[in-house]
Amino acid sequence: MKAKSLRIGKNWLYAPLIFMSIFYLLPMYVMLVTGFKPFEEVNLKTMWALPHTIAFDNYVEAFRHLAPSLRNSFVMVIPATIISSFLGSLNGYVLAKWKFKGADVIFPLILFGMFIPYQSILIPLVQFMKSANLTGIPGLILAHVIYGIPITTLTFRNYYASLPQELIEAARIDGANMLGVYRWILLPISIPSFVVVLIWQFTSAWNDFLFAVVLTGNEQWPITVALNNMAGSQIIAWNVQMAGSLLAALPTLLVYLFLGQYFLRGLLAGSLKG
């Protein structure tokens, strides 16, 4: 009797779930549908209607506007992601398995950097990059590497701390030094953690706006700044803006669709959980 009433209750749940799905999909729907509408169909009254014919003109035009900044984004994100992940792995290894004196003080100090509002370091950062002649993309890469250290260190440290100490002891008895243990024992088994961290860093560097807007000029704008400025201009039609938004969102959306579980693990690591 009880189990039965529960089952009926469960099927009812599809109603609110589908309603919520509509809420989550509406912006995506508008973005997609509008981006494919040919110019003569762009009309406020038919905004919610499906396009009669599929046109790629908007994407061609959006791509024409955004291609340089898409390239900038890739040029910036790839090294920033790889370097900060590798640094995080080394830090995590030492802070989990080779604690030196003071390591327990250093770790929370590094972690706090994950939460600070970047406004509180912005003025010195801009001054520093200018005086070090690190303007544009190299400066942006450096900023993402440094401010990525906290989250990458946390993720790897939690992973390495979960491995038994005997693993390291055994390798040391066999004659490996601390670098050897890292290279031959830990590095090979931490590939899944690398995937989590690489995805997480890729996403946050790709989606960053604040560092990009203060550290880069017109020529080096990554996609977020270029899209924001394109949408702010009066000349560009909104169907082209929607096409541009999709272009800007596509790389991280694809990563999320294909590697969603790793994305989720990075997400949960950001709340300090392992």
Binding site: L90, L122, A248
Partner: protein
């Protein structure tokens, strides 16, 4: 035998990161605080002492008062919205329905997108134009004969910021759902079964067993979302540009520093932001790291 050499080596490996953190985080924070206590206005650095003047001025600055009001409204709508929506989505998905993975993927995907894209798209959805120029959600409401829902969204004075918070809920409620879902999945099944055998209804189980167990999750969500909302910046820039009615401290800081060249004032805003985030985050980190050690 290797011990000492290895200890030095391990320290050397993390030294670059430690130095970077010490300089680029703590050194820069100190530098910012120093600027906030200076008279620096204009292009050239001027470190002449100003004491707390910049802070005192901020608290009699009408624009900063608007910022504080907006931050409070945004935080309440955003945090409460994300927690309520996230919790109910998680509870629904925890019932073992068919298609759970599909819904989970769907609710989380906005997290992968940048706040800029979210802002650009939602600005279109929330277009306040009326009559023949009506579009976006207002047009949809008009089709569905839900005319009472038609409104001016983010262009409404005072409460416009709540419309921006709605877009932020769209983006971040999936994250709260993921936190709660992880929490729900870690509750042993025996606990629910025991309560069921004792005759508790489904509702009572949630009220007296599951919600109390999830208190730490709720606390994490409150703090993580709260600190995100204090820092909100990109989303407002993309949705509203530099509209004064939707101003928040992060935008004021950016504008006054890099457009207006009032460096000292910008640094004071930044320092106040840091303090408000630190008040949330430091106790949270303290408890989280301590409970981890006890395990």
């Amino acid at each position: 035998m290797f011990k000492n050499k290895d200890r030095y080596l391990s320290f050397l490996l993390v030294l670059p990161s430690i130095l970077a953190v010490m300089i680029f985080i703590y050194g820069f924070i100190g530098w910012s605080i120093r600027v906030s206590l200076s008279q620096w206005k204009g292009l050239n650095p001027n470190f002449a002492w100003a004491g707390l003047n910049n802070y005192i001025e901020l608290f009699s600055d009408p624009r900063f008062m608007v910022d504080i009001r907006n931050t409070v409204i945004f935080t309440v709508v955003f945090v409460v919205g994300c927690i309520v929506v996230g919790f109910f989505l998680a509870v629904m998905l925890d019932q073992g329905l068919k298609g759970e993975a599909f819904f989970r993927t769907l609710f989380l995907f906005p997290m992968a997108i940048s706040f800029i894209v979210t802002g650009v798209v939602w600005r279109w959805l929330m277009n306040p134009a009326t009559g023949s120029r009506m579009s976006g959600l207002n047009l949809l409401f008009s089709y569905l004969h839900l005319d009472f829902l038609i409104n001016n969204w983010h262009t409404t004075p005072t409460w416009g910021i709540a419309a921006v918070a709605l877009a932020a809920i769209w983006q971040m409620s999936g994250y709260t759902m993921a936190l709660y879902l992880a929490g729900l999945r870690s509750i042993p099944l025996e606990l629910r079964e025991a309560a069921q055998i004792d005759g508790a209804s489904e509702w009572q189980i949630y009220r007296h067993v599951i919600l109390p167990i999830l208190t730490p999750v709720t606390l994490s969500a409150l703090i993580i979302l709260g600190h995100i909302s204090l820092k909100v910046f990109d989303l407002i820039i993309a949705m509203a540009g530099k509209q004064l009615a939707l101003d928040v401290p992060a935008i004021y800081m950016w504008q006054t520093t890099f457009d207006g060249l009032f460096y000292a004032r910008g640094a004071a805003i930044a320092t106040l932001l840091l303090i408000s985030v630190a008040v949330l985050i430091i106790p949270y980190m303290w408890f989280t790291l301590r409970s981890e050690k006890q395990l």
